[in-house]
């Protein structure tokens, strides 16, 4: 975005997008704000409640636990998917038909509807009919993700790694293929080790796309809903109830509109704040 001409009429070009997105974002958001400060007993009767729901949510141990599970989940999948994705991108062929084959095959999980992803992993992991569940039990490992919290978590993480590592691979691959061959030749003449090539040529060139990877994976892992609800339904108990699942349980399960709306806003603000930090860091590096 460098070297742009000042032109206030450019607003007309962005206007259609602004109108449509505002229609979709501002009205629903205001509805949520509206609910979050009121109490309802049905029949469209509402009473002003002020910040009661916010206080209640911020002090509820249920929300704290869901948030902790969410942060743990996000931390684990980032810690696995980023290094794994970069390693795969480094090892895969850079050009030629094999590169295309790899890219197309790896991109497959990204294009499967999320509920199908959940259903696929469900039938893969079921202890009686699933390939994974059956094999693990046949090997003498007691595994049942519908009953053991640890097994449920492992399955959930394996599913997310399966689903999204390809995104990191594709991003890292894009960064790597932008490096001119001359860089590698120069490194070869200097007798640089593979580690030095990675540390001083490949990693700096991938920095930008890896920031996008972190941002996207962070945002999306915080919103994950459909796959988890199909795979584990948030269980056993509440073991895998991440923020989204807990929110939908309150909003549509118990129909507690006020607390659900307050929780929505707090939830959204957390994502917004953390994403803003990422975005600020990204654009600051870009400006340099």
């Amino acid at each position: 975005m460098n070297g742009r001409t000042p032109n206030q009429k450019a607003w007309w070009l962005v206007m259609p997008v602004v109108v449509l997105v505002a229609f979709n974002a501002v009205i629903p958001l205001m509805t949520v704000v509206n609910y979050s400060v009121q109490e309802t007993f049905g029949d469209n009767q509402f009473f002003f409640e002020g910040v009661t729901w916010f206080e209640q949510i911020l002090h509820s141990s249920r929300f704290h636990e869901a948030l902790q599970r969410q942060l743990l989940f996000t931390a684990i999948i980032l810690a696995i998917e980023l290094p794994l994705g970069v390693a795969i991108a480094l090892a895969m062929p850079r050009r030629g038909p094999w590169a295309s084959v790899c890219l197309v095959l790896m991109a497959m999980p990204l294009l499967i509807p999320w509920n199908v992803v959940g259903a696929m992993w469900n039938i893969l992991a079921l202890p009686d009919i699933g390939l994974l569940g059956h094999s693990l039990n046949a090997l003498g490992i007691d595994y049942n993700f519908t009953r053991q919290p640890l097994a449920a978590w492992s399955t959930l993480i394996a599913m997310d790694v399966w689903h999204w590592t390809s995104l990191v691979v594709l991003l890292a691959y894009a960064g790597l293929s932008a490096i001119p061959n001359a860089f590698y030749e120069a490194a070869k003449i200097d007798g640089a080790s593979a580690w030095a090539v990675f540390r001083y040529i490949q990693l700096p060139k991938m920095k930008r796309v890896l920031m996008i990877a972190v941002l996207l994976r962070f945002m999306d892992s915080f919103m994950v809903y459909t796959e988890t609800i199909v795979l584990t339904g948030g269980g056993p108990g509440n073991a895998t109830s991440l923020l989204s699942i807990d929110l939908v349980k309150i909003a549509l399960g118990q129909f507690d509109l006020g607390p659900a709306a307050a929780m929505s806003l707090i939830y959204f603000l957390i994502i917004l704040l953390l994403s803003w930090i990422f975005y600020a860091v990204m654009t600051r590096d870009e400006a340099q």
Partner: protein, 266 residues
Amino acid sequence: MRRIKWLLPALYILFVLLPIYWLLNMSFKTTNEILGSFTLWPDHFTLQNYRTILTDPTWYTGYLNSLAYVLMNTVISVTLALPAAYAFSRYRFMGDKHLFFWLLTNRMAPPAVFALPFFQLYSAIGLFDTHIAVALAHCLFNIPLAVWILEGFMSGVPKELDETAFVDGYPFWRFFIRIFIPTIAAGIGVAAFFCFMFSWVELLLAKTLTAVVAKPIAAVMTRTASTSGYELGLLAAAGALTIVPGAFVIYFVRNYIAKGFALGRV
């Protein structure tokens, strides 16, 4: 070292294909065989599940509904995002940075937060259970994404192109449609691919905004659990068919896919 380098991608691809294989395996079995015995490939190979889905209107209209709103959304998102992305990549205007970030925040909004208000909003304007409702709702996250991708591609086009055209006396829209759009055709393809993909995989909003007429395939699939017990064979076949459109479009953008995932910023 160099010889075993292919091992990691190969193992990963194996891992990627494993659940897909299991899904296909199940889709060629009868539900009885799935529940009755554990076999690595179908003992009694059957196409009955696929036949049911492709001949029963309650099933295949689900695919048509999904395709309808996904295509509408792709067209709307890309068309509106094009001029906006141009503005962000070429001009400086009041509040541009804030506007760009505000657009991105909508990519971050968890659909779970918006499900209920969306239902009320689209019911109030009389669009509930229509394809266009889902198409418009998906614009919430697809337009920001399309703007982001297109802006990346457009910033890669030298500004001299625009300046030369304007000096030659091209009016803005003629330049934009005749010269600029063909120049970034690859970027448009990639943006369209991403809109298609994210609209195709999203379920929560699509399910919330539809009931009967515009019900997406993903919502039809949940039916198998409630009516006739678990029709696992049918469920697997329906799931396998949802992979087809994605595999199809991915083939067209295979050369640009990596650049596209990097949002045009490499």
